[in-house]
Amino acid sequence: MGAGRERVQPLTIAVPIHRWWLWWLRVSFPLAERVWPVNRITKRRLLGLRFIHFAHWGLATRVPHRGGRRLPVPYVLFHTNYNGDLVSYVDAFSIVVADQLRLQLQGSYGFPGPEPLGPFRRYFFEKAFREDHFWCAYPEASVKTVVAGMALEDELGRLRAAARDGDAAFAAGWERFLERHAERL
């Protein structure tokens, strides 16, 4: 795992699923990934959690994946990078996207449902693996600081323009900037 001071944390889990559930996920993953408006609705809610940097779900059925030996049961491989503590991360999934969790995990072995929180946490943590090596290009960043920084980059151009218009214009522009963007700083 990353060092404790680092704000980006990794999580890797493998969830065994019934073979009949594989067919549902083979249909629903592409729908949720690519087909409007399903993708928009699905991703908006998850991204609204604002602590997921990257998250990927894949289906492992054979090793090697192409032409290899079949695994006894299929697995959903999930790996993600997030900010904050893991319990809050798992609880947020349970509370905010409970219906999406059911749509994804209802056909997994031993799925207790997203609530109550205790059994779901245990189910989730039992399937987690310790990362042996993890690296992030911006380990101290949070999703909020990255997104805020992108918005502030646009504003920086406006501030530079105001600075070319003299002291009073810049001071007024700076005040407006603080009013609009103080929470992003």
Partner: protein, 160 residues
Amino acid sequence: MTWLLPVAGDVAALRARIAALPAGDASPFAAIPGAHVGRLVVLDGLADPRGGPPSGPLLLVAVDADGTAAGATAAVAGRLGEVLAHCEGYPAAGDGADVDRWLRRHRVRDGFSLRPYPDATVEEVRRALDVRARLAAFAVQADGLTPAQLRAAFVEAFGR
């Protein structure tokens, strides 16, 4: 991108090899152009919930990088060879193209992904973070300055 590779032989040797990798800026993932994050996870065994023996051991390699899948695959092959050599079928005697082909066979395609800043390159992310940090520092410095001092300080910090 994600790869799932069967481990050949001694898992402890693989773990020791991974543990010896440098962290931070010296990590092999740091040398992959455009990489945002990378991980190596040794899966001792994927449990069979029906009571059968676990599948494994396996090595999961994952990287999020800008650019093409082919570019990321080639970079992983080039930077992580000493780790990948602990996996079944690794073409130790082959050239880069052989390793690429071997990795492609082991790739588990992402079915669904989340990226809160999907089009941003790693350099754009770093620049955005830098801009935010500098503006935050400037906001503290700017408190109480006259308009002339404020503008002069801004120009000095950020240019025109």
